[in-house]
Symmetry: C2
Subunit: 238 residues, 2 copies
């Protein structure tokens, strides 16, 4: 998609890990859709969370431009990875082409996605149940990782996601239980060398877990995939 | 484009000023183009400067995905306005639909745009003259300003730009002269209440001027339009 083949580096494990971390740790991303009225690419900002299989999810109003775009044409893209200090182009970022899947409010997955989104963005509680708001899953098709000048990689969508966990309801239970475990969150944050803040756990999946404190989000990727909720409990309490 | 008419507030001077400031003070923006191979909207990050008439300019490599998109279809959009602390959606941002105009290296305006871009992004000196790099002017067509929850406005492209200054060569001379005036920049920064840094002047036009210190950029909008370079000298040295 983005770069000529001769400019791309071979995609290795390090590139894949950087790509996943950028995508999964972003509190918000730039979202590009096709504007139905004009055909222009329309770029806006959206809060993002990650579904249980690693697919990015957004919560949007039916009245907004991006939602109209996604309803008209499922093709969209996400840009993740915010610059810190220094040259903005020296900071890693990833563009992911996605296909949008609307999440119906009465579908089996709505409850899970709602819980996961709110575990990352507590303030969205104020509007998540408004009738004009709904979730979309943005399923990665292909991606272009830019790790800084001259460090471009192409990835497939499959390299960014993972199979859905087998027992979804037990993951939802874990998700809901973790919010209360603030003393465990504080200990886990200390193990990770994070500063002393009012940490709580945010969203969790077989690949990693969020630590959240007010508007600070730290996504921790597990050292290896954890297939069962009890593996996660063991990992964070060991 | 973005919001239903009934959600839009009437566009007043305050909204126009916010829109212009967001666009003109952004060191970088999210750029959306149409990917020629797939038709997907492709969002990436680009360093930005502002031409003498307020039109955003970018410097891009012919090998990059966004350049291929712009050469194939001039329709693009820019998202400006970075979130600070707190809820990312509470921070103002603007989406501008633009039409891309390539700037040929042998055109009359290339020298001006090159000088203006480098006055904002000194490090681009390293690659600005590489044969595969070139400038595009992204001419605003229409815009959607989001000043935070429930504060949406529509703007025309003309509300974001202004007539080109009459004597372009004297503005280029001013642009080149200002880079050296670091003691005046320090005094002007002090008048604006900015902290004590190694300030220098960056790009200048009839609407405002940049103060730059390493990777910090502060765009100051003049209280009224200054039609002549000597008006600017008087304004910053008074």
């Amino acid at each position: 998609m983005a770069e000529q083949a001769q400019l791309l580096r071979p995609t290795d494990d390090e590139a894949r890990e950087l790509a996943r971390t950028l995508l999964r740790s972003a509190r918000y991303m730039s979202l590009g859709v096709l504007d139905p009225a004009t055909g222009f690419p329309f770029v806006s900002r959206a809060l993002t969370a990650i579904d249980l299989d690693g697919v990015p999810v957004i919560l949007v109003s039916a009245l907004s431009g991006h939602t109209k775009g996604l309803k008209d044409d499922v093709r969209c893209s996400l840009l993740a990875g915010e610059p810190g200090k220094g040259d903005p182009l020296a900071h890693a970022r990833i563009t992911v082409f996605c296909e949008a899947q609307p999440v119906s409010r009465d579908s089996a997955i709505h409850q899970r996605i709602r819980a996961r989104f709110l575990s990352r963005h507590a303030k969205a509680q104020l509007y998540v149940d408004f009738p004009d708001f709904s979730f979309f899953r943005l399923v990665p098709i292909q991606a272009s990782l830019n790790g800084g000048f001259g460090r471009a990689y192409a990835l497939t969508g499959k390299e960014l996601i993972f199979p859905t966990a087998t027992d979804e309801s037990s993951w939802l239970e874990l998700q809901n239980d973790l919010i209360e475990k603030t003393s465990e969150a504080a200990k886990f944050a200390q193990r990770l060398g994070l500063g002393d803040k009012n940490w709580r756990f945010g969203l969790v999946d077989p690949a990693g877990i969020d630590l959240v404190s007010s508007d600070v989000l730290v996504r921790h990727e597990f050292q290896h995939r954890l297939d069962l909720p009890e593996d996660v409990i063991h990992y964070i309490c060991k």
